[in-house]
Assembly symmetry: C2
Homo-oligomer: 118 residues x 2
DNA sequence: CAAACGATTGAACAACCGTTCAACTGATAT
DNA sequence: ATATCAGTTGAACGGTTGTTCAATCGTTTG
Protein backbone atom coordinates (compact mmCIF):
# COMPACT_ATOMS: atom_id res chain seq x y z
CA UNK A 1 0.00 0.00 0.00
CA UNK A 2 1.78 3.04 -1.29
CA UNK A 3 1.65 5.95 1.09
CA UNK A 4 1.74 9.59 0.06
CA UNK A 5 3.68 12.10 2.11
CA UNK A 6 0.94 14.67 1.93
CA UNK A 7 -2.30 13.63 3.53
CA UNK A 8 -3.97 14.29 6.83
CA UNK A 9 -3.08 11.56 9.29
CA UNK A 10 -1.56 8.65 7.41
CA UNK A 11 -2.87 7.81 3.98
CA UNK A 12 -5.04 9.09 1.17
CA UNK A 13 -8.65 8.01 1.02
CA UNK A 14 -8.94 7.74 -2.74
CA UNK A 15 -5.52 7.52 -4.35
CA UNK A 16 -6.90 7.27 -7.85
CA UNK A 17 -8.96 10.41 -7.46
CA UNK A 18 -6.01 12.39 -6.12
CA UNK A 19 -3.71 11.25 -8.92
CA UNK A 20 -6.34 12.04 -11.55
CA UNK A 21 -6.98 15.49 -10.16
CA UNK A 22 -3.29 16.27 -9.84
CA UNK A 23 -2.76 15.42 -13.49
CA UNK A 24 -5.85 17.14 -14.88
CA UNK A 25 -6.18 20.35 -12.88
CA UNK A 26 -4.67 23.67 -13.97
CA UNK A 27 -1.16 24.64 -12.92
CA UNK A 28 -0.86 26.42 -9.59
CA UNK A 29 1.03 29.33 -11.16
CA UNK A 30 -1.71 29.98 -13.73
CA UNK A 31 -4.39 29.78 -11.05
CA UNK A 32 -2.49 32.25 -8.89
CA UNK A 33 -2.41 34.67 -11.81
CA UNK A 34 -6.14 34.35 -12.36
CA UNK A 35 -6.75 34.72 -8.62
CA UNK A 36 -4.69 37.92 -8.69
CA UNK A 37 -6.91 39.23 -11.47
CA UNK A 38 -10.09 38.44 -9.53
CA UNK A 39 -8.61 39.97 -6.39
CA UNK A 40 -8.44 43.31 -8.18
CA UNK A 41 -12.17 43.07 -8.87
CA UNK A 42 -12.79 42.02 -5.28
CA UNK A 43 -12.98 45.48 -3.76
CA UNK A 44 -15.99 47.77 -3.48
CA UNK A 45 -14.09 50.94 -4.26
CA UNK A 46 -12.47 49.54 -7.38
CA UNK A 47 -15.83 48.14 -8.46
CA UNK A 48 -17.43 51.57 -8.08
CA UNK A 49 -14.63 53.14 -10.10
CA UNK A 50 -15.16 50.60 -12.88
CA UNK A 51 -18.91 51.15 -12.76
CA UNK A 52 -18.38 54.90 -13.06
CA UNK A 53 -16.00 54.51 -16.00
CA UNK A 54 -18.54 52.29 -17.73
CA UNK A 55 -20.79 55.35 -17.95
CA UNK A 56 -18.12 57.58 -19.46
CA UNK A 57 -14.48 58.59 -19.46
CA UNK A 58 -13.55 60.54 -16.32
CA UNK A 59 -10.61 62.41 -14.82
CA UNK A 60 -9.33 61.50 -11.35
CA UNK A 61 -10.90 64.50 -9.67
CA UNK A 62 -14.34 63.69 -11.06
CA UNK A 63 -14.10 60.07 -10.02
CA UNK A 64 -13.23 61.24 -6.52
CA UNK A 65 -16.21 63.62 -6.56
CA UNK A 66 -18.62 60.99 -7.87
CA UNK A 67 -17.51 58.50 -5.23
CA UNK A 68 -17.07 60.94 -2.35
CA UNK A 69 -13.44 60.01 -1.81
CA UNK A 70 -10.08 61.75 -1.80
CA UNK A 71 -8.05 62.03 -5.00
CA UNK A 72 -5.24 60.15 -3.30
CA UNK A 73 -7.33 57.11 -2.41
CA UNK A 74 -8.79 57.02 -5.90
CA UNK A 75 -5.37 57.40 -7.54
CA UNK A 76 -4.00 54.50 -5.54
CA UNK A 77 -6.83 52.26 -6.71
CA UNK A 78 -6.50 53.49 -10.29
CA UNK A 79 -2.88 52.39 -10.12
CA UNK A 80 -4.01 48.91 -9.13
CA UNK A 81 -6.61 48.83 -11.90
CA UNK A 82 -4.06 50.07 -14.43
CA UNK A 83 -1.52 47.43 -13.38
CA UNK A 84 -4.18 44.78 -13.98
CA UNK A 85 -4.88 46.32 -17.41
CA UNK A 86 -8.51 46.90 -16.50
CA UNK A 87 -8.40 50.64 -17.21
CA UNK A 88 -6.27 52.85 -19.41
CA UNK A 89 -5.42 56.54 -19.06
CA UNK A 90 -4.82 59.54 -21.29
CA UNK A 91 -3.30 62.86 -20.27
CA UNK A 92 -4.96 66.09 -21.35
CA UNK A 93 -3.31 69.17 -19.92
CA UNK A 94 -3.27 68.93 -16.17
CA UNK A 95 -5.96 66.28 -16.08
CA UNK A 96 -5.62 62.54 -16.61
CA UNK A 97 -8.67 60.83 -18.08
CA UNK A 98 -9.36 57.19 -17.32
CA UNK A 99 -11.52 54.74 -19.22
CA UNK A 100 -12.23 51.00 -19.36
CA UNK A 101 -9.35 49.16 -21.08
CA UNK A 102 -11.43 46.64 -23.04
CA UNK A 103 -14.98 45.32 -23.17
CA UNK A 104 -13.78 42.07 -21.66
CA UNK A 105 -14.12 43.75 -18.30
CA UNK A 106 -17.77 44.53 -18.98
CA UNK A 107 -18.63 40.88 -19.59
CA UNK A 108 -16.83 39.99 -16.37
CA UNK A 109 -18.86 42.45 -14.32
CA UNK A 110 -22.09 41.28 -15.97
CA UNK A 111 -21.18 37.71 -15.14
CA UNK A 112 -20.64 38.68 -11.53
CA UNK A 113 -23.98 40.48 -11.36
CA UNK A 114 -25.69 37.41 -12.82
CA UNK A 115 -24.28 35.16 -10.12
CA UNK A 116 -25.43 37.57 -7.43
CA UNK A 117 -28.96 37.98 -8.84
CA UNK A 118 -30.18 34.47 -8.13
CA UNK B 1 -21.63 78.29 -9.37
CA UNK B 2 -22.99 75.46 -7.29
CA UNK B 3 -20.35 73.80 -5.18
CA UNK B 4 -20.44 70.17 -4.10
CA UNK B 5 -19.32 69.23 -0.64
CA UNK B 6 -17.30 66.30 -1.87
CA UNK B 7 -14.41 67.21 -4.12
CA UNK B 8 -10.70 67.51 -3.68
CA UNK B 9 -9.80 71.12 -2.98
CA UNK B 10 -12.81 73.27 -3.69
CA UNK B 11 -14.99 72.43 -6.65
CA UNK B 12 -15.69 69.76 -9.22
CA UNK B 13 -13.95 69.98 -12.56
CA UNK B 14 -16.82 68.70 -14.69
CA UNK B 15 -20.08 68.97 -12.81
CA UNK B 16 -22.12 67.53 -15.65
CA UNK B 17 -19.97 64.44 -15.88
CA UNK B 18 -20.16 63.82 -12.15
CA UNK B 19 -23.93 64.23 -12.07
CA UNK B 20 -24.37 61.93 -15.06
CA UNK B 21 -22.17 59.24 -13.58
CA UNK B 22 -23.83 59.46 -10.20
CA UNK B 23 -27.22 58.90 -11.81
CA UNK B 24 -26.21 56.15 -14.24
CA UNK B 25 -23.74 54.00 -12.32
CA UNK B 26 -24.77 50.93 -10.32
CA UNK B 27 -25.69 51.20 -6.66
CA UNK B 28 -22.84 50.99 -4.18
CA UNK B 29 -24.52 48.15 -2.29
CA UNK B 30 -24.88 46.00 -5.39
CA UNK B 31 -21.27 46.66 -6.36
CA UNK B 32 -20.09 45.70 -2.89
CA UNK B 33 -21.95 42.41 -3.22
CA UNK B 34 -20.33 41.69 -6.57
CA UNK B 35 -16.95 42.69 -5.19
CA UNK B 36 -17.47 40.24 -2.34
CA UNK B 37 -18.15 37.52 -4.88
CA UNK B 38 -14.99 38.30 -6.83
CA UNK B 39 -12.97 38.46 -3.60
CA UNK B 40 -13.81 34.81 -3.00
CA UNK B 41 -12.30 33.97 -6.39
CA UNK B 42 -9.31 36.17 -5.63
CA UNK B 43 -7.27 33.62 -3.71
CA UNK B 44 -4.86 31.03 -5.07
CA UNK B 45 -5.89 28.30 -2.69
CA UNK B 46 -9.61 28.68 -3.40
CA UNK B 47 -8.83 28.79 -7.12
CA UNK B 48 -6.90 25.52 -6.87
CA UNK B 49 -9.78 23.94 -4.96
CA UNK B 50 -12.21 25.02 -7.67
CA UNK B 51 -9.89 23.76 -10.38
CA UNK B 52 -9.63 20.40 -8.60
CA UNK B 53 -13.40 20.13 -8.24
CA UNK B 54 -13.81 20.89 -11.94
CA UNK B 55 -12.05 17.59 -12.62
CA UNK B 56 -14.30 15.57 -10.34
CA UNK B 57 -16.16 15.43 -7.04
CA UNK B 58 -13.78 15.12 -4.08
CA UNK B 59 -13.85 14.65 -0.33
CA UNK B 60 -12.02 17.09 1.95
CA UNK B 61 -9.15 14.72 2.65
CA UNK B 62 -8.47 14.18 -1.05
CA UNK B 63 -8.54 17.89 -1.79
CA UNK B 64 -6.03 18.37 0.99
CA UNK B 65 -3.87 15.60 -0.47
CA UNK B 66 -4.07 16.94 -4.01
CA UNK B 67 -3.12 20.42 -2.88
CA UNK B 68 -0.58 19.45 -0.23
CA UNK B 69 -2.43 21.27 2.52
CA UNK B 70 -3.95 20.45 5.89
CA UNK B 71 -7.59 19.41 6.14
CA UNK B 72 -8.22 22.36 8.41
CA UNK B 73 -6.97 24.96 5.97
CA UNK B 74 -8.96 23.35 3.16
CA UNK B 75 -12.09 23.10 5.27
CA UNK B 76 -11.91 26.80 6.14
CA UNK B 77 -11.69 27.72 2.46
CA UNK B 78 -14.47 25.30 1.56
CA UNK B 79 -16.62 27.13 4.08
CA UNK B 80 -15.92 30.39 2.28
CA UNK B 81 -16.68 28.82 -1.11
CA UNK B 82 -19.87 27.27 0.24
CA UNK B 83 -21.04 30.59 1.70
CA UNK B 84 -20.54 32.15 -1.74
CA UNK B 85 -22.56 29.31 -3.29
CA UNK B 86 -19.65 28.34 -5.51
CA UNK B 87 -19.50 24.74 -4.27
CA UNK B 88 -21.97 22.34 -2.72
CA UNK B 89 -21.40 19.37 -0.45
CA UNK B 90 -22.89 15.95 0.17
CA UNK B 91 -22.24 13.66 3.13
CA UNK B 92 -21.47 9.98 2.58
CA UNK B 93 -20.62 8.13 5.75
CA UNK B 94 -17.71 9.82 7.44
CA UNK B 95 -16.68 11.67 4.30
CA UNK B 96 -18.07 14.90 2.87
CA UNK B 97 -17.88 15.21 -0.90
CA UNK B 98 -17.65 18.62 -2.52
CA UNK B 99 -18.47 19.62 -6.09
CA UNK B 100 -18.97 22.76 -8.18
CA UNK B 101 -22.35 24.35 -7.42
CA UNK B 102 -23.25 25.40 -10.98
CA UNK B 103 -21.62 25.78 -14.38
CA UNK B 104 -21.78 29.54 -13.98
CA UNK B 105 -18.55 29.26 -12.04
CA UNK B 106 -16.87 27.53 -14.98
CA UNK B 107 -17.64 30.38 -17.36
CA UNK B 108 -16.28 32.79 -14.79
CA UNK B 109 -12.98 30.97 -14.48
CA UNK B 110 -12.70 30.70 -18.27
CA UNK B 111 -13.31 34.42 -18.56
CA UNK B 112 -10.54 35.07 -16.08
CA UNK B 113 -8.13 32.81 -17.95
CA UNK B 114 -8.96 34.64 -21.19
CA UNK B 115 -8.08 37.99 -19.69
CA UNK B 116 -4.77 36.64 -18.42
CA UNK B 117 -3.82 34.98 -21.74
CA UNK B 118 -3.31 38.17 -23.74
C1' DC C 1 10.44 81.95 -12.69
C1' DA C 2 7.00 81.13 -9.42
C1' DA C 3 2.44 79.97 -8.14
C1' DA C 4 -1.49 76.97 -8.67
C1' DC C 5 -3.65 72.76 -9.56
C1' DG C 6 -4.38 67.88 -11.02
C1' DA C 7 -2.32 63.76 -10.10
C1' DT C 8 1.03 60.49 -8.20
C1' DT C 9 3.84 58.36 -4.66
C1' DG C 10 5.66 56.54 -0.14
C1' DA C 11 5.27 55.77 4.74
C1' DA C 12 2.28 54.61 8.45
C1' DC C 13 -1.68 52.88 10.61
C1' DA C 14 -5.73 50.05 11.04
C1' DA C 15 -8.59 46.53 9.33
C1' DC C 16 -8.91 42.31 7.00
C1' DC C 17 -7.63 37.61 5.76
C1' DG C 18 -5.29 32.91 5.39
C1' DT C 19 -2.92 29.44 7.91
C1' DT C 20 -1.94 26.95 12.09
C1' DC C 21 -3.09 24.67 16.30
C1' DA C 22 -6.14 22.57 19.37
C1' DA C 23 -10.58 21.29 20.71
C1' DC C 24 -14.73 19.57 19.14
C1' DT C 25 -18.74 17.16 16.26
C1' DG C 26 -20.63 13.29 13.60
C1' DA C 27 -20.33 8.78 11.95
C1' DT C 28 -18.56 4.08 11.83
C1' DA C 29 -16.63 -0.05 13.81
C1' DT C 30 -14.94 -3.02 17.54
C1' DA D 1 -19.57 2.40 25.31
C1' DT D 2 -15.09 3.38 23.51
C1' DA D 3 -12.04 4.24 19.91
C1' DT D 4 -11.07 5.94 15.52
C1' DC D 5 -11.36 8.77 11.64
C1' DA D 6 -13.32 12.62 8.48
C1' DG D 7 -14.50 17.06 9.00
C1' DT D 8 -15.58 21.48 11.34
C1' DT D 9 -14.84 25.37 14.30
C1' DG D 10 -12.67 29.15 17.12
C1' DA D 11 -8.70 31.69 18.72
C1' DA D 12 -4.36 33.47 17.59
C1' DC D 13 -0.55 34.85 14.81
C1' DG D 14 1.52 36.92 10.70
C1' DG D 15 1.07 38.84 6.27
C1' DT D 16 -1.67 41.51 3.14
C1' DT D 17 -4.25 45.54 1.92
C1' DG D 18 -7.03 50.03 1.79
C1' DT D 19 -7.07 54.69 3.46
C1' DT D 20 -4.86 58.76 5.26
C1' DC D 21 -1.37 62.24 5.39
C1' DA D 22 2.39 64.67 3.59
C1' DA D 23 5.62 65.38 0.09
C1' DT D 24 6.48 65.38 -4.79
C1' DC D 25 5.89 65.43 -10.01
C1' DG D 26 3.95 67.48 -14.36
C1' DT D 27 1.52 70.93 -16.61
C1' DT D 28 -0.43 75.33 -17.16
C1' DT D 29 -0.89 80.19 -16.05
C1' DG D 30 0.25 84.81 -14.16
Amino acid sequence: MARGEFCCTENVIHEGAVAQVRAAMHEAAALDTVAGFFRVLGDGTRMRIISALLVRELCVCDIAAALGMTKSAVSHQLGTLRAARLVKCRREGKSVFYSIADDHVIKMLEGGLEHVHE
